[in-house]
């Protein structure tokens, strides 16, 4: 460690002209000389994919528990992370089921996913419950610039009927601040970027276009502050800072490219300004910024609604012009099942990119992935039959040393998904006696 006279504040921000404000990653210089190393905080992110998964491609052909054996097709892209993840079997959201509310599994399952309750079937007076991420954010969010961040890639409508009488508020949000207040995800990477590195001002599309015309890198605004800071850093910290700022610059480049592409593809498009047309690019932009947000401790809690329940997004990038949702109602027709398999695989391929970035990012003595708990999953298992049991669930990362990944764990049937949520809340420092229909935390011996 490079010993300096005074430790740098963990909250140090690079400031410059205009609205620029760049939080810093954790640097050695932030630890007082000769003090015990500071333990990195644990980060939590939920990534949700809709319309269920082809379960034959998710679960092993022959059931087993313990160390991963052969990776089924949907998980193949994640093979490099076999030692970093837990696959959890048999978790169930009973509150996503019809019970007495009839059709609307898509609306219910996303509404209940993090809230743990059966949402009210309505398009008007919506009612869910505070979601587990927000319970955590309420407790620990004061330690970071943003208590939580919510992202998505699909539809942001908050009203209207999105599934058999269920409000779009249920399908288009994962995070709920209260029983009537969802937290809509940010879809536009440019807006997210400005949120992370600006002063919070929301720019109009016209203002944004004007700025884009003579856009400079945000790093240019903080050059003086950066140089000043560098004089007090050791070589390791300088390299860390350089890598960090380069990652921000890389995001900027991607944004600029997306914006340029959007102009060329369709100048009159009503798509948000910075949203790339390509799914993978969009996913990468958002998750690259998630990494930065975690790295700089801007937040410790994020939700990412990859796409929304019932989405009919086509995946032309991989040769699938059909809508995702119609494909999932495949009625066992091989061609449609194959398309769903390809979409599932495409999603996990993007996830692999995100995990790679987290793993490559130093954080304290280890890396961001080791200090995170990333939950990747869906609110339905079999999308064809709308099943709410054995929900596809990956718990990725080591949770700061709490989790012992590298295994497939199968719980008893009907084990509430809320048991996982209780476990995560406890690990994030927010122990709760009850949540949703949880019966207990997951057996600690199973995950740790």
């Amino acid at each position: 460690m490079y010993i300096t006279g005074k430790a740098l504040s963990r909250r140090t921000v690079l400031r410059g002209m205009g609205t620029a404000a760049i939080a810093l990653p954790f640097l050695d210089s932030m630890t007082p000389a000769l003090a015990a190393p500071t333990k990195s905080p644990v980060r939590l992110a939920f990534l949700y994919v809709p319309n269920g998964i082809m379960m034959r491609d998710w679960n092993p052909a022959t059931e087993y528990e313990g160390k991963f054996q052969e990776f089924p097709r949907a998980l193949k892209p994640l093979e490099d992370y076999r030692e970093d993840m837990l696959q959890l079997g048999n978790l169930t959201h009973n509150s996503g089921r019809a019970l007495l509310d009839g059709a609307g599994d898509h609306g219910r399952c996303s509404g209940s996913y993090l809230t743990g309750i059966q949402v009210k079937k309505t398009t008007i007076d919506i009612k869910a419950s505070i979601s587990c991420d927000q319970i955590i954010a309420n407790k620990i969010g004061g330690q970071t610039r943003f208590p939580s961040l919510e992202l998505g890639m699909d539809d942001a409508r908050q009203a209207g009927d999105c599934d058999s009488g269920y409000s779009c508020a249920y399908t288009n949000n994962l995070a709920w601040r209260s029983e009537t207040q969802p937290l809509p995800p940010t879809l536009d990477p440019r807006v997210f970027f400005e949120r992370l590195f600006g002063d919070g001002a929301i720019l109009s599309p016209e203002e944004r276009a004007r700025q884009a015309k003579d856009r400079q890198s945000i790093l240019d605004f903080v050059t003086a502050d950066t140089k000043k800071l560098e004089t007090s850093l050791g070589p390791t910290d300088k390299r860390k800072l350089d890598e960090y700022l380069s990652s921000i610059r890389e995001v900027e480049r991607q944004l600029e490219k997306a914006e340029k592409d959007n102009q060329q593809i369709n100048p009159g498009m009503d798509k948000p300004y910075g949203v790339p047309a390509d799914f993978a690019e969009h996913f990468k932009l958002l998750t690259d910024m998630m990494v930065i947000a975690f790295q700089s401790d801007m937040t410790r809690v994020m939700t990412f609604l990859v796409t929304r329940e019932g989405t009919s997004r086509a995946y032309r990038e991989i040769g699938i012009p059909d809508g995702h949702h119609p494909c999932t109602h495949h009625q066992n027709k091989p061609d449609l099942m194959e398309k769903v398999s390809q979409i599932n695989e495409y999603h996990t391929k993007q996830l692999a990119g995100f995990l790679g970035k987290l793993k490559a990012t130093k954080d304290g003595d280890s890396n961001l992935l080791d200090n995170s708990m990333i939950i990747y999953g869906a609110g339905l298992s079999d999308g064809n039959r709308h099943l709410h049991e054995d929900l596809p669930t990956l718990l990725i990362g080591k949770g700061g040393g709490y989790l012992k990944p590298g295994r497939r764990i199968v719980y008893r049937k009907e084990t509430p998904m809320c048991n996982l949520h209780l476990t995560l809340m406890e690990r994030m420092g927010v122990p709760m006696e009850h949540f949703g229909d949880a019966s207990s935390e997951l057996d600690p011996a199973s995950v740790s």
Binding site: L100, G102, H386, E414, T415
Partner: protein, 373 residues
């Protein structure tokens, strides 16, 4: 919300027992499945309060036997045991209980081809669910006051259900009453279902949120399942799990005391005059396991009284239903859809199996008059 646009189905029955500890538990499961197939009620969950994988397998095997072959072209049953067709709620105390001879009689019986005569698919604890969660999850899918809980074993699982966070209001809303074959009334020596978990029995009688109708040991003794039926009524079946178990339980001929059966019959047909009911009161469980009934107008408990005038009718009903030949199932309406399908079967408005037309079960000819020992 009460199932918008859906028709209220027959009463849903949750059945919890220490299955396989006595023949009564097998008979009760068989009776409930048979009467369910007739359309008079629906078995919505089966759970077992002893830690025995073999008991869970036997529950599945017996249920499948009574359900008969799957419908032609169908993928499976629209519900079946518990919330999934193959699922049984099963207690897990970390150690398996010994396999009782009657369980073994069912599971070890082979067909001519050497395969199990009464097949099952449950292979491990992971194929089962916690009993309390099993009952809670399926109760949530029932119309208000359209479920009855039947208990023929220790009170452990009912307390487990009651103790789940938020479950009590749901029990109050969904369960009309609990019919429990527990204790002896109006008094008597401690009964086995109480003795095996006195703490739970105390808690259940003190805190269970709905009325409780208890069926004492004396009712089971007054209305036994007759050996004569076993000898005569099952001739149509090359092999039958109830016959195999019954013959194994004790040396034939014997008439099996059947408090669980009486509990099941009352649960399904409370108003048909098969039994008399005590005045209301309160049951307390003493430290030695004895049950004490104290009459009182505000009490939530009553006990069942066997009516000698109804004995022949009751036993005829038992024997007809339990010995009836299952017929291929016809899944009607929303019952189709297989395990856990939304809006159908287990978790649809109906919950449990699809509703069968009354003709879906063929009554066997009545047995001779009950044989007394």
């Amino acid at each position: 919300m009460q199932g918008r646009g859906t028709v209220k189905p027959p009463t849903g029955i949750t059945f919890d027992s220490d299955l396989g500890n006595n023949i009564d538990s097998f008979l009760t499961l068989a009776f409930l499945q048979a009467i369910s197939a007739k359309g008079d009620s629906r078995v919505i969950s089966v759970s077992i309060s002893k830690s025995s994988l073999k008991a869970a397998q036997a529950a599945e095997a017996i249920t499948k036997f009574y359900e008969g072959p799957p419908p032609a072209g169908g993928r499976g049953f629209g519900g079946g045991v518990g919330v999934n067709p193959e699922m049984v709620g099963l207690a897990d105390n970390g150690k398996w209980s010994n396999v009782t001879p009657i369980i073994d009689a069912v599971l070890s019986k082979k067909a001519a081809d050497g395969k199990p005569a009464y097949p099952w698919v449950i292979g491990s604890l992971l194929d089962t669910a916690d009993p309390g969660i099993t009952m809670r999850n399926i109760l949530l899918a029932q119309f208000d006051e359209n479920a009855v809980a039947v208990l023929d074993g220790p009170c452990t699982d009912m307390v487990g259900l009651m103790e789940l966070y938020g479950a009590r209001p749901q029990i109050t809303a969904k369960v009309k009453y609990l019919v429990a074959a527990v204790g002896a009334y109006p008094g008597g020596a401690a009964e086995v279902n109480v003795k095996s978990d006195i703490a739970s029995a105390k808690k259940m009688f003190a805190e269970w949120p709905t009325p409780i109708i208890v069926v004492g040991r004396e009712v089971g003794e007054a209305l036994p399942y007759p050996a004569a039926s076993i000898e005569k009524d099952f001739a149509w079946a090359p092999s039958h799990p109830i016959v195999d178990a019954y013959r194994t339980f004790r040396t034939m001929p014997y008439d099996a005391p059947a408090p669980g059966l009486a509990a099941a019959l009352y649960a399904v047909h409370p108003d048909d005059g098969y039994f008399r009911l005590s005045e209301p009161g309160t049951i307390t469980v003493l430290d030695d396991g004895q049950t004490k009934f104290t009459p009182g107008a505000g009490g939530k408990h009553r006990y069942l009284i066997a009516d000698a005038a109804q004995k022949e009718k009751v036993i005829q009903l038992y024997t007809q239903l339990i010995s009836a030949k299952p017929v291929p199932r016809v899944i009607t309406g929303r019952g189709r859809g297989g395990r856990g399908a939304s809006g159908a079967g287990a978790f649809g408005a109906s919950g449990g199996r699809g509703v069968l037309p009354p003709a879906a079960i063929t009554p066997a000819p009545p047995s001779a008059a009950p044989v007394s020992k």
